[in-house]
Symmetry: C2
């Protein structure tokens, strides 16, 4: 494919940024990739793996001359890096971010981007439970959605160029406004993550069921929660602190529904439970038809797990 | 491997029973497999697929002469089949069940089993979101736990024989008392399922986020809930109605924890959130080390999903 941005600067070098670098390399979408990460260890790993052409000790140096700058740091760190790079942006450069929350990022970043640059917030709906520069891979964005939440008045050519760049990585691109994005993600991602974290925490707390029992017998449903609950703690802390209103709204609806099901269990109302479970099953079918998951049983987990080993003790 | 039970009768021919039949065939653990299912359609499918040597129109006929009888029907149907087969059991036969709840099954089944037979309740911690006679496969139980909850005074030789039978299918076997089983499963399976059902129901109800948005953007966490929430509605209705006390207890702890996290979000207490999310991440690591899941990113989903298709409309 053709080069879309000559020089791309990645600010933050975790799962998303390193996957973008691998994808750009594989598909020839950029000529030069520079990088910056706050941690010296992360910078060293990025150099070792070679997915950047150059890694700098400051974000300001990394963005010099860049045609595209990607802010790929936790949402809570966006303002600091935006402030630092603002004065060093090349005229006409496009600035995007990959944060899971959009309104708070816009408030934090937009004031620091000079008018000569195009700030176009975005969010790839792709990831794994792994994090850090070693976890990236070129196909992460293939057949996944990448949402753009451009501000009113943004240069349409700049938006089209960024869209083409994400599509060239294999993503599907949609546009929506930032407030709607934050509500949609509160439903499809943020609240499910909080619930999974909570359930895993409950299991860990319960003294009458031992840790090794929880772990050994996790295949019955719980292990799918633990995968979700294994995601990066800093990223998720920042998501909840920065998408507070939408998350609290969806949580309120969730507890209301949960209490209704709880009452049905207490009262022995089997018809209510059966009707509810039948309805949710239909939603699963729609997701498979939409190509966002595999119909293979058990998520298509391929590998037969290894034999059980000693269960680690809680410290 | 050697035959362990000459003649095995499967009462109920869904995912678990058909998987047991495939595993017995593959490993040579039985000489004859008979079957019964309430639905004529299920019986016809079992005949078509050939995983039983004979399929009968009544449970009583299916168990005649059987050395092992497996009750593989929803928990709410256990009493009816136990009552029906009781008088027809061969002296010395072993009767087991594969229900997800043990105390209620014991209360429902034990009174109908004559003293000449050995009733040993059991529960395989294995399954997929698919159900029915076409969904079974021979390796379902490999490296999965199969719990036995024998009643006090059960013949030890009969327990050892059933244990050997499950181990020969590739399972790991543990024994515990029925009340403890029901609490452990409330934590590792029943409450997680209820929560997943609830979250999927909330998403479906929310009018400001469209169905197609929920489905398209599900990759961000929600789709793992939908898989859990796609399980068989009848089976799960019966689980909640029959493990009421333990499920309600764990639900109470869950909402308590959830409210604490909700308050942390409202108050902006990032330290509390970060500490909680770090702790839950460690549990995931233990599960992978225990061999109950793959460390491969995203559950090792192998296949690249197909391109998006038209999103089905809600009827």
């Amino acid at each position: 494919m053709a080069v879309i941005f000559e020089k791309v600067a990645l600010i933050g070098l975790g799962l998303i940024a390193s996957s973008m670098a691998h994808a750009m390399r594989q598909r020839g979408l950029a000529t030069t990739i520079t990088g910056y990460a706050r941690s010296a260890e992360t910078r060293a790993v990025a150099m070792e793996l070679g997915f950047c052409d150059a890694v700098f000790d400051s974000a300001a140096e990394a963005v010099a001359g860049a045609d595209l700058v990607v802010l790929a740091v936790p949402v809570g760190a966006m303002e600091t890096v935006a402030k630092e790079i603002g004065p060093f942006l090349k005229p006409g450069a496009t600035i995007t971010d990959v944060g899971s929350v959009k309104q708070a990022v816009i408030e934090a970043v937009a004031p620091h981007i000079p008018p000569r640059a195009h700030f176009i917030p975005s969010h790839p709906l792709a990831g794994t439970e792994h994090s850090g520069p070693r976890s990236g891979f070129a196909t992460l964005f293939e057949n996944r959605w990448w949402l753009l939440t451009p501000l009113p008045g943004t240069n349409p050519a700049a938006v089209a160029r960024l869209r083409g760049f994400y599509e060239a990585m294999g993503a599907y691109v949609d546009e929506m406004d930032a407030a709607h994005h934050d509500l949609v993600l509160a439903v499809t991602s943020h609240t499910p993550h909080l619930i999974a974290y909570t359930m895993v925490g409950v299991a860990d707390d319960l003294r009458r069921v031992t840790d090794s029992e929880v772990i050994k017998y996790s295949a019955a449903g719980f292990r799918d929660f633990t995968r979700i609950a294994a995601s990066d703690p800093t990223m998720w802390r920042d998501v909840f602190l920065n998408n507070k209103d939408a998350t609290l709204e969806i949580l309120g609806r969730f507890t209301e529904e949960l209490f209704a099901l709880q009452r049905a269990i207490r009262k022995g109302d089997g018809a209510h439970l059966h009707e509810y479970f039948t309805r949710t099953r239909a939603i699963r079918r729609s997701i498979i038809q939409a190509g966002q998951d595999t119909a293979a049983a058990d998520f298509g987990r391929g590998a037969t797990p290894a034999a059980p080993v000693d269960i680690p003790k809680k410290p």
